[in-house]
């Protein structure tokens, strides 16, 4: 057992926590937090697991860098969407509104 | 590929292309649409005539290519397919003429004629299909192209009927697909071949074969309206008359019956079917359907519904004929494929004429219509007598041949069925005849007849008359070389001694 493995296992736990958050929480921003936490967990596994035996491995590190950027892009986009959604509907969750028949072309 | 390979394709394409052209035409392009329709019908008819002649001479028409791995798409013209193709080509022409007149000034004609052509293309495909897979392809295409025709009126009733129709036929199609796929798994890609494939099938697969046969018949029986799968047919009567004519006489029910013929003869082989013990139950089922349909027809007050139940009964003649073991009965069944078509289309044309010209839908409104519309009524009378089996009309030839065959096959009970059916037919048709000719009309007609003018539009007048003449002709001239009977005998002979 090396510290890398420890972090990988921590990553697993973070994944679990994040997943729970994503599934259970209803506030969109909280979901977003959960997503980021889960992402961090995945990154930890990604780097920690291969480094357990082989020492520092630049490949997963590069992958994680890419992953982080993707994650921030997604997060930022999500924030924009959430904010706009909030403005238009006044809601912060995804619960279905009482169905309002949508009229008009799209 | 030679020209011969392509002729069936051309025959198929004529109506397919016609349909596409018609869809593209504007609703108001009345004249052009009519010409496209008629032109295509004529071209197709001549192609079919060429093929009939060629098949008679022994020329091979057909092409095949692999469609899905392991399965080929086969178009092939053999004697049996030419029979059906000929029927549909001739009757398409007439029905087109009729439909042009019938739908004059009604909406959605572009849609109607488009699907109409599509429907005929499917029928042609069914006729020319060279294996079960190809058959199924067109069989389902037929279902789809007839749906818009059934619901053409767009009323709630029509849509309900359409739904029933679709539920029945698609379920039947699904069962058929299952059966075909299963058969394919058991025996591979089987082309239609005279004498069939299972003459000496491995006994291990007998059980599967029997089950598959049951599934096949169940799937095809929906369209062929075999009891208890006939429920859609009377409902589909809400469709416009040319559609009913087409459904009953040419396309739909015939497709089912034709499919059963193909299965029994060209897939299983009649001897193998007989050996598997599936023919006799089929015969009983058909016989029951014949009687059942006639009984139900008795109590119908709506003319078209009565005709519909009559169809239920009549189509089973075909199945009965082929499920009796012996070439004569087979010829009787096969020839009924044509005969029933011609007679039933006559009746529906006439029913349509009454409805369109005089607004008659129920039988008790028909009093004295014979004087008002003598031509139509003569045609109706001939058709009805044909159905009853009165000589020398088409139906008589069928019954005679089939009866002879049944006796030859030592199945005397068939005679009883045939006679009872004739009696029932008489019982539900003769009162109609009486009303037509010998009752005084209850009131004045919506449109009195003027001397010197046809009783109705010429488009509507001539088709039933022509088919009535054909009803007489195919009966009277049954022994001519190219008569339906001779053709059917030829087929039956080939099937029994491939």
């Amino acid at each position: 057992m090396t510290s890398s493995l420890l972090y990988a296992l921590a990553g697993a736990i973070l994944c679990g926590i994040g997943l729970f958050g994503l599934l259970w929480l209803s506030h969109l921003l909280r979901k977003l937090l959960a997503f980021n936490i889960m992402g961090s967990g995945v990154f930890l596994v990604m780097v920690g697991l291969p480094q357990h035996q082989g020492g520092p491995d630049p490949v997963p590190q590069a992958l994680v860098l890419t992953g982080i950027v993707v994650a921030i892009a997604a997060t930022a986009l999500a924030v924009v969407l959430i904010r706009r959604y909030f403005h238009l509907s006044g809601m912060t969750g995804l619960e279905d509104e009482p169905a309002s028949p949508e009229r008009g072309p799209e | 590929m030679t020209l011969n390979a392509w002729i069936p394709v051309f025959a198929l394409m004529t109506s397919l292309i016609a349909s596409l052209v018609i869809f593209a035409l504007p609703e108001k392009g009345y004249r052009l649409r009519t010409w496209v329709n008629l032109g295509a019908a004529l071209v197709k008819l001549s192609l079919v005539v060429v093929m009939v002649w060629g098949v008679f001479q022994g020329v091979e028409y057909g092409l095949s290519f692999t469609m899905v791995p392991g399965v080929t798409f086969v178009l092939k013209a053999d004697a049996l397919s030419m029979m059906f193709a000929g029927l549909s080509a001739v009757l398409w022409l007439l029905t087109t003429i009729y439909a042009v007149g019938y739908l004059e000034d009604s909406p959605n004609r572009s849609r109607f004629f488009g699907f109409f052509s599509l429907c005929v293309a499917s029928t042609m495909g069914i006729a020319l299909a060279g294996n079960l897979f190809t058959f199924f392809l067109f069989y389902e295409m037929l279902t789809l192209s007839t749906y818009p025709l059934v619901v053409h009126r767009g009323t709630e009733k029509a849509l309900r009927a359409g739904r029933t129709y679709v539920i029945y036929t698609l379920t039947g199609g699904a069962v058929l697909l299952l059966a075909i796929a299963w058969l394919h798994g058991v025996a591979g890609d089987l082309p239609f071949r005279e004498g069939g494939h299972f003459m000496d099938a491995d006994p291990d697969i007998h059980r599967s074969l029997i089950l598959i046969f049951i599934l096949l018949v169940a799937g095809l029986g929906v369209k062929a309206a075999i009891f208890p799968l006939h429920g859609w047919l009377p409902q589909a009567m809400v469709a416009p008359a040319p559609v009913s004519a087409l459904l009953h006489a040419v396309a739909v029910v015939k497709a089912g019956a034709f499919g059963i013929v193909r299965v029994v003869y060209d897939i299983y082989g009649v001897e193998a079917s007989s050996a598997l013990g599936v023919l006799e139950p089929l015969a009983w089922l058909a016989a029951f359907t014949i009687l059942y349909g006639s009984f139900r027809a008795l109590s119908q007050t709506d003319l078209k519904r009565r005709l519909a139940f009559s169809t239920v009964s009549q189509v089973s003649y075909i199945i009965l004929g082929i499920s009796l073991f012996g070439p004569v009965a087979a010829a009787g069944g096969l020839v009924h494929l044509l005969h029933q078509g011609i007679m039933k289309i006559t009746l529906f044309f006439c029913a349509g004429n009454y409805a369109e010209t005089l607004g008659i839908h129920r039988i008790d409104e028909m009093d004295g219509a014979g004087r008002r519309m003598p031509g139509t009524s003569v045609a109706f009378t001939i058709g009805a007598f044909g159905m009853i089996g009165a000589p020398p009309l088409a139906g008589f030839i069928t019954k005679w041949t089939m009866g002879s065959g049944a006796l030859a096959a030592n199945m005397d009970w068939v005679i009883v069925v045939l006679l009872s059916s004739s009696l029932l037919n008489a019982a539900y048709f003769l009162p109609v005849m009486h009303r037509l000719w010998f009752r005084e009309p209850a009131g004045s007609w919506p449109e009195e007849r003027h001397w010197g003018r046809l009783e109705t539009s010429a488009w509507l007048f001539w088709p039933p008359l022509l088919t009535a003449v054909m009803t007489v002709m195919v009966g009277v001239l049954a022994s001519l070389p190219f008569s339906p009977l001779s053709w059917a005998e030829l087929i039956a002979l080939r099937e029994y001694s491939p």
Binding site: Q61, A62, T66, V69, V70, R84 | -
Partner: protein, 233 residues
Amino acid sequence: MIRTLRILAITLACVAFTGMLATSIWTIAGNSDPGNLPQLLSENLDRSGVEHPVTAVLLNFRSYDTLLEIGVLVIAGIAGISMAKTASLEDPQLRTADSLLYALQRWFVPLMLVLAGYLLWAGADRPGGAFQAGAVLAATGVLLRLGGVPMEFLRPGLLLRLGLALGFTVFLLVAVASAIAGDAFLAYPPGMTKTLIVVIESVLTLSIAMVLLALFVSAPVNDAEDPEEGSSS
């Protein structure tokens, strides 16, 4: 009742998930046969044009990932600014009077710019690189923005779009240049690797910062039915 059941189910699922994941990690860690990739990488490092392996992976060996990743960023940016609501960009209320923020601005901004520059420059042979630099740059921008600096160029318009696209475009052009010459897509012409990587990194830094900043700035702030979009082009 249903809520309780639901939370129980979710908890159970997540615990099971974590457990399985951990077990799996443990098993893999126990039996893994270390790949030879790091070794392969170090063997090829000198052919990559940069000394820092992570940068080498990012911008040479797996540059396709990076290219696409910038694409993802651009997408996010586009989607973001398509909902932009920047009318309040010059809202005087936004201009903060907070002295702390002001001081931060005063001192931090130049510092962060320097840091960004350093990170960019260092990327070739040490930890650091375009992302980090871009992120720092963006953070600087956010700081300024919070401080109320209008940053007119962030209005949706051609300029912003050019900025968004710049890094990506340069990267793409470099990628296709060698392909036109007959080499593989994304291959660097021999001898120019390092230069090109540095150029790409520089423009990427700008673009990344721009995207992140734009996403921050364009976050909708009011409930107008239609997002206000900049004047055409």
